[in-house]
């Protein structure tokens, strides 16, 4: 009897020890069919190399993942690996919810070697108190995608007549738009609502305004610049020239369909991969092109759209073992920057990639790179998501309701400064 008990004890101990060696990583990310295809393959390859590691990749819609990750972290049930836009991720760094990178696990000799591998400055948003908290999956800025057919249809030469200024953008759109009374059947161009930190703040900055003062303590700098931009949006909306509105279907999604519903849209280089996947015929037709983010006629700053990053991060509450393997796996995924670029259209800001022929041969990569060189990263602030909501409220109040730009600005200023206050 004693022997049986002993055998059972040894067996269960062995099973426990065997089980203890197994590492299961939970990886949450946003939906992107092109990326899913390659990352699932990386997972298979990684699991083959390290049979004791299993990775469960779960995707969420890009506008839902923020709240899913947040509620999970609030309940101390966050995933081991996750990524979101940097302005959504920043509060996780500030609040100590993500683990600093382990250079050795990521295959680097030192922290400095990691900084040396990436473009200067791109790791600044994830550097806090001397530690590095993330590695970039992508760095994206937005330019204007144009459907050349619709330009030609209304007698415009897309190569010459594309809008260089916001004033021209409204005029060109007026020519391209097709209406049934007040209802827009085809929009010339429409903004990418509600990502106002990415495109609206740079528009204000072109005119010499700013969202925050340099010390970050005051919001809404240079009322004149803000008023001009809010007036522009009021004119753009259904109560003005009726060129577009946030209540219409997202222009970026319609663009790929090439179905006469939108002629221009605002998006990143990854759109090329999505056009190829959604509508190969349109992609191959050569009937689309990319031009820089417009500037205002009397712009005082030559600025493109803000660029944002998605950084892979690791949960600080995961065990040390899991953190080690998480960084090892992230580094493995990111060791394929060419494939991310060619198959998904994501720019990983590694020096070797941006200097490579592969990058230079991507259609219109130079347009994005030139504009990015004249841009800056999106507002990094613990309260950035709420700031974006307040901008949304201001813009939509002038576009959709009868609020005057002066009234909307006054309210925005009050709410923004209240947000910055401690209480």
């Amino acid at each position: 009897m004693k022997r049986v008990v002993m055998i059972l004890f040894v067996l269960s101990l062995s099973l426990l020890l065997l089980g203890a060696d197994k590492i299961e990583l939970l990886f949450w990310t946003h939906e992107d069919p092109n990326r899913t295809e390659i990352e699932n393959r990386y997972i298979e390859e990684f699991e083959e190399m390290y049979p004791d590691v299993t990775i469960k990749r779960v995707t969420y819609p890009s506008r839902k993942i923020q709240e899913t990750v947040l509620t999970a972290f609030a309940a101390h049930k966050g995933p081991d690996i996750f990524n979101m836009e940097i302005n959504d991720e920043y509060p996780y760094i500030v609040n100590g919810r993500v683990a600093p990178i382990d250079p050795k696990a990521a295959g680097y000799d030192s922290l400095q070697a990691i900084y040396g591998n990436y473009l200067e400055g791109v790791l600044d948003p994830v550097t806090y108190d001397g530690n590095l908290y993330g590695l970039p999956l992508e760095l994206t800025n937005w330019c204007i995608f144009i459907n050349k057919k619709y330009f030609k249809e209304v007698g415009l030469d897309p190569e010459k007549d594309y809008p260089k200024t916001w004033e021209e953008m409204a005029d060109v759109s007026e020519k391209l738009v097709i209406r049934d009374g007040e209802i827009l059947l085809r929009r010339g161009f429409d903004f990418r609502y509600p990502y106002y930190l990415t495109f609206l703040v740079p528009m204000v900055e072109q005119l010499g305004g700013a969202l925050l003062s340099e010390d970050g303590k005051t919001a809404i700098i240079n009322d004149e610049a803000w008023l001009k931009v809010l007036e522009y949006f009021k004119e753009w909306g259904p109560n003005g020239r009726n060129l577009g509105s946030p209540t219409y279907t997202n222009a970026r999604k319609l663009f790929n369909k090439d179905n006469n519903s939108v002629a221009m849209c605002l998006t990143g280089l990854y759109q090329e991969g999505r056009i190829r996947a959604d509508n190969p015929e349109f992609y191959e037709s050569g009937e689309w092109m990319v031009v820089p983010f417009p500037r205002f006629e009397n712009a005082v700053n030559d600025l493109g759209s803000a660029y944002y990053g998605h950084y892979y991060m690791v949960n600080a509450e995961s065990s040390k073992d899991k953190q080690y393997w998480a960084w090892k796996f992230i580094a493995f995924m990111l060791s394929h920057p060419e494939e991310y670029l060619l198959k998904v259209g994501l720019i990983q800001p590694q020096k070797t990639l941006l200097e490579s022929e592969i990058f230079k041969n991507i259609p219109y990569s130079d347009v994005f790179l030139n504009d990015m060189a004249k841009s800056h990263i999106i507002t990094i602030h613990e309260k950035a998501p709420m700031m974006q909501d307040l901008l949304k409220e201001a813009v939509e109040s002038v576009m959709l309701t009868n609020a005057t730009p002066a009234f909307a600005l006054k309210r925005l200023k009050t709410k923004m400064n209240e947000l910055l206050e401690e209480w």
Partner: protein, 305 residues
Amino acid sequence: MAHKRRVHKGIERKKAIWGWIFVAPSLLFFSLFSFYPIANAFYTSLFKKDLLSLRPPKFVGIKQYTYLLTSPTFWNSVKATAIFTLGTFIPLVVFSLIFAAFIMSRKRFQKFFQMAYYSPAVLSSVVAAAIWLLILDPRGLANQFVNFLLNSPGVDHKWLASIGMVRFSTVLVYFWKYVGYFTIIFIAGMASVPRTLHEAARIDGANSWQAFWRITFPLIKPTTLLVSVVAMIQCLKTFSTQYLFVQSGAPRGPIDVITLNIYYTAIRDHRIGRASAMSIILFAIMLFFTWFQLKVSKSEEVSYM
């Protein structure tokens, strides 16, 4: 005599014990999933707490409440909630009563009508709002239908844009979704009215209209009260329609109901203490209407004797 009282007491005691045994699971369930979250929300509302922070929260007492009561944004939410609740629950009660009376007066297709009215209530609010977003799109069916009826081609009625229309659209979606649910409750109430009363009225020469107003309506007063208060409480809790509309580009201000404000304060702003205070205020409002229901329903008890 004393022996009889002891026996009687023993039976009472046994009944009481069994009563507690039967009630205990639901009490436990209710305490775990209702009392505890309410108490926890109240406790959290006394602190300044960031949803992501691992630092201990700072005790601020009733400061969250005093802040909210002087905040224009919060009062805007109260206004949006009041407009939505009044705008929704009155049509809900009136039309569900009419639809129930209509269905009860049918001799054929009663089940079909019940199913047709009830089917939207089966859908999740998110799916319902998503369907309506397609309909209310500027190029969608709503504009086409109204323009066909009014012979006004090309008019954009701005269902999701102008202040009045976006409020109306949320009411429309909610009404469409819940009118069937309340119709079924009214049907149940009407079915419980004894047929003998109607037969007696008919013998006395009452027509259908008189029978409804003099017999059915007075006898379903408890159901009417139940429907109106439940509808009101449901309306006070509305969230998903407004949330999806705002996500799809509708302006937030006119439909920023308290629950939506709670969501933004907690999830976008990470201020869980302040969001908890808002939820406690909302709870107090709902508690008031529950108390109101109990008070009124006591005076409106109906007896068929």
